[in-house]
Symmetry: C2
Subunit: 350 residues, 2 copies
């Protein structure tokens, strides 16, 4: 398989000069697109869509047909790993993900093993191979996983939560048990990401969606430490494949996140990306960080805010433009075209 | 009316030495208390509870009967001001606040005036006077209001929102109109807080609940600027009454928030309060910042995390212990007693 390494997205992740700033959009294959909603309806359920390689491939490619995006991201869910561990992932319409068998005891933790990606998560690997073939080098493909802490949150609560107080209580009351859980998750996530790279993913990303809910000392102990373990395993098992960490709401920890050895950091929209670059930009590329809500405003506002993010980052290498969080279902697709074109236009040959 | 100025809570707000660190808890009069739920049931609705001075007084005092708290906070809602402006506040069970007449046009904005607190918000002023009398100097009384930006968010959306994209879009597309709205809100909030002080509130607080959802440039323009206007008006109309600003999720802006001239800043739990103190502690007191989820853990964990916050702040003047956000309904009241007693015990004569 040919590995295209000179695409501007991969160059930016390596902090090499680019002809224009690359852009992709978190959740770009999503409900704001009518063609996504049509495929989703045909699939019958979100899980059927994610678990059928042909359908996952179809929705992964849809946004690239419409917009001049610089990367595709595997259509999947962050909870595939705990599902493969036997927790029984399912989705209740309008309520989000749930596990049939949440982790409720130390015995539940001790029962968990590292799922083999090519057997237990074969549908993901098949999707990666198919997408990579269908992309035919048009754009690089990003693989991804949830972070150990974020997966642990869902596994312990059994579903989403505003505070994940149950997961935090386990961490505070029995840190040894929590670390056993995080350790098996880190090994599972590392193996899963390395397998995605082996199947064709050219860049990898870890979503630490709930790291930012932690007090700093707990973030360092329960989120950061195991992100670093994942990064080390990926570098060992998939050398040369860049890995991006995104801990939403954890801007207090950018330096420590860069110290994990990751190649890039996702940044949410609550700090100036220029300030983030000054703090860590000599070590990592940065991805971000337009407020997703800006896409609900007028084309003029979208263009001016896109320019503001580019200006804040400045004419330095190592910027992958993105939103600071996933695109929401209410956004008109035309507004995404406005953003993608504005980012390319304003950053060309600067 | 006697003004008690030597209570440790008021001393801490002035960054004077105290015998032990004062503590109060955001939403301390709330659903986690069975006696609150009983009064709430008797009132028939949340609004009836908030709008009947005798009932508001009753629930305000309930947590002080149980715990050795160092301040009472008026039981009310942050949306009383827009309601007094004619927007028609109501609560839909399980859905949160809604306005019957949201702001949907520039004409809607131009129609708004500053409500006179002693007529349009008389029930709040009566509650303040009654609570102050019933407290009988046991503890100082805190009055509060929502920030101009936060009120504008609800007024424009008509209800709560994950992103307040409609409010952000107005700010981006028609900043002049947004500033007209924020200006009338700032004058209204300033007058309302000054009136609460005149009625007996010994400290004031502004909850900028949604400021942290903004990109930094928008935070400075649409939230911070009007917080500063409120602070200036309160200092002019209620001289000597300390005012605390709490912009949740806006830790990037602590220095700028301190520059408003406020007396104290609330701090959420995602930064070390010691780091916050190093950044701004020479100018303002700090309130915070235990993760509310810690109260769901064991008494041992609560005690050790309380100690960690106290140790992080260190033996400096100017700390008001609190959670980093409101207490949640699932917390056992005994856990609050553990926290309050631990904070007093660990900080005594240090």
């Amino acid at each position: 398989m040919t590995i295209t390494t000179d695409h501007r997205f991969l160059r930016a992740l390596r902090r090499e000069p680019v002809d224009m700033t690359p852009i992709w959009i978190m959740r770009q294959a999503g409900r704001y697109l009518p063609e996504y909603r049509a495929t989703r309806a045909r699939a019958g359920s979100f899980l059927a869509l994610a678990q059928t390689p042909e359908l996952a491939c179809e929705v992964t490619l849809q946004p690239l047909e419409r917009f001049a995006l610089d990367a595709a991201i595997l259509f999947s869910d962050i909870l595939t790993v705990p599902d493969a561990m036997g927790l029984g992932l399912h989705f209740v319409e309008g309520e989000g993900p749930k596990f049939a068998h949440p982790v409720r005891s130390v015995a539940d933790i001790d029962r968990l093993g590292v799922p083999d990606p090519e057997t237990k998560l074969r549908y993901v690997m098949d999707a990666v191979r198919l997408i990579r073939r269908e992309l035919n080098e048009r754009a690089p493909l990003i693989g991804f996983a949830g972070s150990p802490w974020t997966l642990a949150c869902y596994m312990i609560e059994g579903e989403g939560s505003a505070s994940f107080a149950r997961a935090k209580a386990l961490a505070l009351e029995n840190p040894q048990a929590m670390h056993r859980l995080l350790e098996v998750l880190a090994r599972s996530v590392g193996a899963y990401l390395a397998a995605q790279a082996a199947a064709g993913a050219q860049a990898l990303m870890v979503f630490d969606t709930w790291g930012g809910l932690l007090m700093p000392a707990m973030f360092r102990e329960f989120s950061l430490r195991w992100l670093a373990a994942v990064v080390a395993q990926v570098h060992a098992q998939a050398p040369g494949v860049p890995i991006t960490l995104f801990s939403k709401g954890a801007n207090a920890h950018l330096e420590a996140l860069a110290d994990t050895g990751c190649n890039a950091l996702g940044v949410d929209w609550t700090i100036d990306i220029g300030a983030a670059r000054e703090r860590v930009g000599a070590r990592v590329a940065l991805q971000g960080n337009l407020d997703p809500a800006v896409l609900a405003a007028s084309p003029e506002a979208i263009r001016s805010q896109a320019r503001a993010v580019l200006d804040s980052f400045g004419a330095h290498p190592g910027h992958v433009f993105n939103l600071g969080h996933g695109i929401t279902p209410d956004i008109p697709p035309e507004h995404v075209a406005v953003l993608v074109d504005a980012v390319h236009e304003f950053s060309r040959n600067r």
